[in-house]
């Protein structure tokens, strides 16, 4: 129903040693809104991909496996998504339904998301503010945890090491019975990132080594689920993480940088799911605390900014009969930027989903108030028509919005000043496409997104200040297709992704850091308990500033080889990874090189003691 899901799962399961789980009862523990993505281009990260990237963060996952466009300041640097030519603040990033975008700067760094902490990643392109609120203009990324009952005791240890002093240590333990789950995951990751590169910012070019580019992260995720009875489920999650990053200078600077950034956050949520006759109730309260400490000793800069958010959701889904389902909800969010301002956001949303014969459609809308001020009304309509067994058509149109960040509104220092009179950004987003479920499985969408009142920092009278300056029109095509074939004992899968994006401002000029062409090709082979995967990602040329400077097109290829072993109650996975196989000299933005060919390897040992079946 969600349409296309890229899957190597069947293959993975076929070969998996661990097939003892008979009663895996997966329970959805958060918002049901994912089921309302009718008419959208949706990608889901499959289990093998997550397994192979299990020792990385979400930035690496998206970069290495080619899921859409990201903008990045190198391996340890700030990495943000760019859906369909829009900016970092135009993507809603949700963790179990709560938006974890910073209300201060409108961004969420994907390097702060360890893949081991996440069970399910879904990327939805296009606007969906009616369901997910402010910022869901270019797309939405959903990171979800799942409650799987009846799994017994699971303990797993992961040890990995790689080039440039990259290390990952992960330990997780969970106990899952028929009615109760408790799970604790901890990790520690570090990397020096002191990789060599040819620095062509000099004449003669010099062999250089990246400096002051180290990262260190550690965190813990604790989850508890309790089935009070057949109808009620209580869930409790707690996530703490501390991240230290050295911010490198751009490559043309000979003196190593000294700036550092620390991101420390606590996220906790309590949820209650209640199934009643023909309906479902979901209540959740979440708290987010995030501290960002940036220091530059060279300029005596110490900037510590902290925000606290409380996000409360009340959502009811009811089956109205005649294949009509209705979800409505209320969300109250309190955001407090310490020493700056706070704001109260109250939103009501509603969505109808109808399925009749070959037709499915969703009509939804959201209205929010921020400190009593109405946001633009955000309606959305999506539909899918299953014309043939192998071919469906889909499309949607939505109106979306983004409220300005605290920095946009209230920033104040000697050289920059926020603008409290900023208007909210608005957008209209349309798409039409098809889904294929034939010899080739795939999807293709044509999209158009018009963003108005875009907030843009500009300098006037010696001070930087944001204005509702620009309009943007992004349009293009997004597509992917997968072909699977088995040759004897070897299963093969070939996936090709291609996107064309044209993003221009009101003068018809290209928006920066938006390549026209991007494509990714992945080949996977499975034989017995071996898996091999190779991906090549192509990023076309992109403008890097408004004076038409460009970053040349580049290709980066990565390969993985893994082997599963099982021994009584132990399952082991060995993995080696080769990144940038062809040693391309690549910069993700001018002056921010990526490492040449590099390696990573390690193993995961999992111990499972199934529950005693009566």
């Amino acid at each position: 129903m969600l349409g296309f899901i890229l899957s190597f799962d069947a293959l993975a399961q076929k070969n998996a040693a661990d097939t003892t789980t008979l009663l895996n009862e997966v329970v959805i523990t958060n918002t049901r809104l994912q089921a309302y993505a009718i008419g959208h281009y949706v990608q889901r990260v499959d289990s093998l991909t997550s397994k192979l990237s299990g020792v990385g963060n979400a930035a690496e996952l998206f970069r290495k496996f080619g899921f859409g466009h990201i903008r990045s300041y190198g391996v340890g640097g700030l990495t943000t998504p760019s859906f369909r030519g829009t900016g970092a603040s135009h993507t809603a990033i949700l963790w179990n339904g709560i938006n974890i975008i910073s209300p201060l700067n409108g961004q969420s760094d994907l390097t702060l998301l360890p893949v081991t902490f996440i069970d399910d990643v879904q990327l939805q392109s296009g606007g969906s503010a009616s369901l997910y609120g402010s910022g869901a203009i270019g797309g939405t990324i959903q990171f979800n945890n799942k409650a799987v009952f009846n799994q017994g005791l699971n303990v797993s240890l992961t040890e990995n090491a790689g080039s440039f002093k990259t290390f990952f240590h992960g330990l997780s333990a969970s106990y899952s019975s028929k009615r109760f789950i408790t799970s604790t995951k901890v990790f520690q990751a570090s990397a020096e990132n002191n990789f060599p590169f040819l620095n062509d910012n000099f004449n003669p070019p010099k062999k250089d080594v990246r400096q002051h580019d180290a990262i260190e992260q550690h965190g813990v995720l604790q989850q508890n689920y309790f089935q009070i009875n057949q109808r009620q489920l209580l869930s409790l999650r707690f996530w703490y993480q501390d991240n230290h990053v050295e911010i490198p200078e751009i490559a043309s600077v000979t003196i190593p940088g000294k700036s550092t950034q620390r991101d420390q956050f606590f996220r906790s949520m309590i949820g209650w799911n209640y199934d009643y006759k023909n309906g479902h109730l979901f209540v959740q309260s979440a708290q987010v605390h995030h501290m960002l400490d940036y220091r530059n000793p060279n300029t005596n800069t110490v900037s510590i900014t902290t925000f606290n958010s409380i996000i409360n959701t009340f959502e009811n889904t009811v089956d109205l009969g005649n294949d009509l389902e209705w979800t409505s909800g209320a969300n109250y969010t309190y955001e407090d930027a310490i020493d700056v301002r706070s704001r109260n956001r109250f939103a009501l949303y509603t969505a109808f989903k109808q399925q009749s014969g070959k037709w499915q459609n969703v009509l939804s809308a959201r209205q929010e108030t921020v400190n009593g001020k109405l946001t633009p009304f955000a309606p959305s309509f999506g539909l899918q028509y299953d014309a043939f067994k192998v071919l469906s058509f889909f499309g949607n149109v939505s109106r979306n919005y983004r409220i300005p960040t605290f920095n946009d509104l209230y920033w104040n220092d000697a050289t920059a000043k926020g603008n409290p009179d900023l208007k909210m950004e608005t957008s209209w987003s349309e798409e039409a496409g098809l889904k294929l479920n034939w010899i080739i499985q795939g999807q293709l969408a044509l999209f158009s997104n018009q963003v108005d009142e875009m907030i843009y920092w500009t300098q006037t009278a010696g001070k930087w200040s944001p204005q509702n300056l620009h309009k943007a029109w992004t349009r293009g095509l997004e597509s992917m297709g997968t072909y699977r074939k088995t040759f004897g004992k070897v299963s093969g899968e070939l996936t090709v992704r291609y996107s064309y994006t044209l993003a221009t401002n009101e003068d018809g000029k290209d928006l920066v850091f938006t390549p026209h062409h991007e494509s990714g090709t992945t080949l996977r082979l499975g034989w017995r308990s071996y898996y091999f995967s190779v991906t090549n990602n192509y990023t076309g040329f992109q403008y890097t500033d408004e004076s038409n400077d460009v970053l040349k097109a580049y290709d980066v290829a990565n390969a993985w080889l893994s082997k599963d072993l099982s021994f009584k109650k132990l399952t082991m996975m060995f993995m080696i990874e080769m990144n940038n196989m062809f040693n391309s000299q690549v910069s993700t933005r001018p002056g921010y090189p990526l490492p040449g060919r590099n390696f990573k390897g390690g193993l995961t040992i999992r111990f499972n003691k199934p529950i005693n079946q009566k």
Partner: protein, 359 residues
Amino acid sequence: MKSKLLLRLLLFASALVAVQACENDPSRVVPVGAAGYFVVNEGGFGNNNTSISFFDRSTGKMTNNVFADKNGRALGDQAQSITVFDGKAYVVVQHSAKIEVIDADDYSSIKTISDGIESPRYLLPVSPTKAYISDWGADGVTGSVKVLDLTSMSITKSISTGKGPNELILREDKVYVANSGGYDTDNTVDIIDISTDAVTSHITVGDNPNSLRFDKDGNLWVISTGQFAYNEDYSIDVAHSTKSTLSKVVNGTEAARLSIDDIEYPGAAHLNINKAGDNLYYIFNGAVYSVSTSASTLPANALIGDKYFYGLAIDPITDEIIGCEAPDFSSPGAIYIYNNTTLSKTFTVGIAPNGVGFK
């Protein structure tokens, strides 16, 4: 032989005096600026997109991005100035901590000088074989003037100066360095003897001097931004700030200090002088002001006030005013050329133009 050398040196010195901090090939009979000028476009800090444009006087055309187009690589991050000397152009790229030496005619890269440089601002040739480079130091406080050997293209010495050394100017055998404060504050102009490469004395002027010119009578004029203090809400704390000033230095001592009553960030800067050497120009709050060297007060009204300029130069050939406009640090800037107050030409250039270097 000896007299020829003397003549060369004399020509060299007078040329430098005539066009102040700029740059000339002493063997060349044509005056500095006759061929045209380079425009320095700072770019956005941290974006590695600084660039240079060239205005060819013979064709009247401006060509942008000449370094990257010729050499196939980016110029670096935040170029501050360009100086043409002896057929070469020296591009001072501050945040990249390097000097890119290029052929002044075809823009091809000759060498990148980076060893011994930390945060360079301006380059001034002081003899046919030696140049000085003002350098803020990596911390923006530990100022120095680096001595560049123009033959080996390497730094041979570092001379300690006040904080944030900015523009330099040569007269006879002395170089005057405006200590703009860098990331801190200063109120001095250091004097360096070019034969010994040592600071011999300093002149106290207004807070944070940034640029300086000699007039026709040999007096030194120094403009200072003043020092800004801020209230808690980052509005300017006028009571604790100091005014922008223009100092007149006669025989090595400050003889007069004229001040601007308004206190507006970023203060007065970019002092320039006309061909005759009797009229000064500067920018305050984005507007161009003009003042005679015989005036005893600074003008209340701007000469050109309808634009917000980030850089300023006076064409040594035509006496035209060249205003550099940087609307922001991400989109192309513009050059506005005025014949007195009449706008005669405009050109689109690179991002954030901050000044020009005459060829």
